[in-house]
Amino acid sequence: MALLAYAQQRLRSFLGELDRAAESDFPYPDSRKALELLRAQFRAKLKQLEDFTADSDPNVVSQQCQITLRDLFLFLPFIGFIVRSTELRNAFEAFGPFLRLAVDVLEPGTKLANRKIQLVISSEWNYSPHMYDRIQNLDDFLFIGLPAPESGNPLLLPLAGHELGHAVWHYDDMRGSLQEPARAAIVDAIRGNWEEYIRIFAIENLKPDQIDNDLAALATWRLALNSCISQAEETFCDFLGLAIFGESYFYAFGYLLSPGLGSRSYRYPEIVTRVSHLVAVAKALGAEAPADFVKLFEKEVYASASAADRFLIEIADEALEKLIPELCERTLAVIKKSALATKSIEQTKLILDRFKRVAPAENCRTIADMLNAAWMAYNSNDLWSEYPSMQKRKLEVLKEVVLKNLEIFEIERIQSE
């Protein structure tokens, strides 16, 4: 059966690539461990295809070949991610402090030596920070990617807090627990726009009270529910990043994404709405929004001209608004449950004083204070005005000072253990 032979050979080639990847020099054990687990997983997939016989049902064989082909599409970029995590362009200074932060949030009270969490950070050829999580047999791994041109820029570390939010979202099964309120909000929104819904989807004899029981109707709005939950996840991740890092989250967000990309994605809130949510909850989450932050962004426009697409995303947006207070509450609960040290403006100012002297600070309590001080320094027009040549290279020098400070932070923690 050529179909099966092709599928087996594709897996053998993939495993060969994994073997070559395993020969990389790994700067920390987490990457190597991830690769070993994936090799075992794909060997098992190959064994399963090799176990098919001439008696096996052709439909079963064909479907499993399709699933393994899909896995190759899904996992290959991920293998590249692990390989790139070994490259020298990565800011390895940030690894230890960020791992501690992740443990404080996901496994509060656990010593680093006893952690289950594994972290892989990589400099990526993708301009958006991103993460892979909850991969089969790698449930405890967080894979965080930062854009290559900025991966050595510690001022953007707060954005990794957003990515950490995705892990919290899954660990706390927020998708599961928000499914019901999100579903109710979607159904309410459709009932509130009933005439338009019926005009667009034209389901004969459907009544508003049948919208959540009729399977033909369900098939029309399931994408709106997926959109709403996906938007809620991104919003929660923003809130958690803001709650952990404070003002530096705003600055890092503005630096990387303003004025936005112009075209609306169904997976994210519209960008002006997204940052407006951040500004609205800032005080509750212990941060102060920079003046006119929302004005940095331009409203995004829908690419699709389809009335059905527009209706579904508008319904999803309407439902999301109802979930915002709940998402803010959940963020506060995560912070309360965590073992994170409290950030403080006094500490931030002490660190800023050291940065003004082009020196790292000792005894920092949180990396949030460090990064807030870094952004205050960056935003100051007077910083190093007495050293014009240094002032010209302000960001480059500041990056070096902050990276050095992250190293000191980590050494102090190791010594105290």
Binding site: D57, H166, Y171, L257, K337
Partner: protein, 142 residues
């Protein structure tokens, strides 16, 4: 001390409904051709379908639509037009899976019927996950 979190449920990239149903189909196929078969995958699929289709108020729409389409393709299956009908038909399917998993055996006809539904369910779940070419990689961008 604060509570340590543990990851719940199946994984995003692999152990989804499509993969679970395909694994269950393999286990059932082994039963049909008389090979020793580990039926854990059959039990896992039953658990996953049950979790997605518990009640009208909490039904996961994607699981519901996938299940509806799978049962349409199965010979002699009851077709559903409402969620309540689907819940009843899916519940019967789940019971039949559980029964095979518990007993470690099934009649040839039963194993073949369940195998057909599992393949159809895997295919409809793949279709509903959207075209792979259109999928964003990496999955969780900023």
């Amino acid at each position: 001390m604060s509570q340590v979190r543990t990851p719940p449920g199946p994984s995003r990239l692999d152990a989804d409904l499509a993969a679970l149903a395909a694994q269950a189909a393999i286990a059932l196929d082994n039963l049909v051709i008389g090979r020793a078969s580990d039926l854990t995958a059959v039990r896992n699929l039953a658990d996953s379908v049950s979790a997605g289709l518990q009640s009208q108020a909490t039904v996961d729409p994607t699981t519901a639509v996938a299940m509806q389409r799978a049962l349409i393709q199965a010979p002699n299956a009851q077709h559903s037009t409402t969620v309540n009908e689907l819940l009843a038909n899916a519940s019967e399917f789940v019971q039949r899976l559980v029964s095979v998993a518990d007993e470690g055996q099934a009649s040839d006809e039963e194993a073949r019927w369940l195998r057909t539904v599992c393949v159809a369910l895997s295919r409809s779940a793949v279709a509903l996950s959207g075209p792979l070419y259109d999928r964003v990689s990496p999955p969780l961008t900023y």
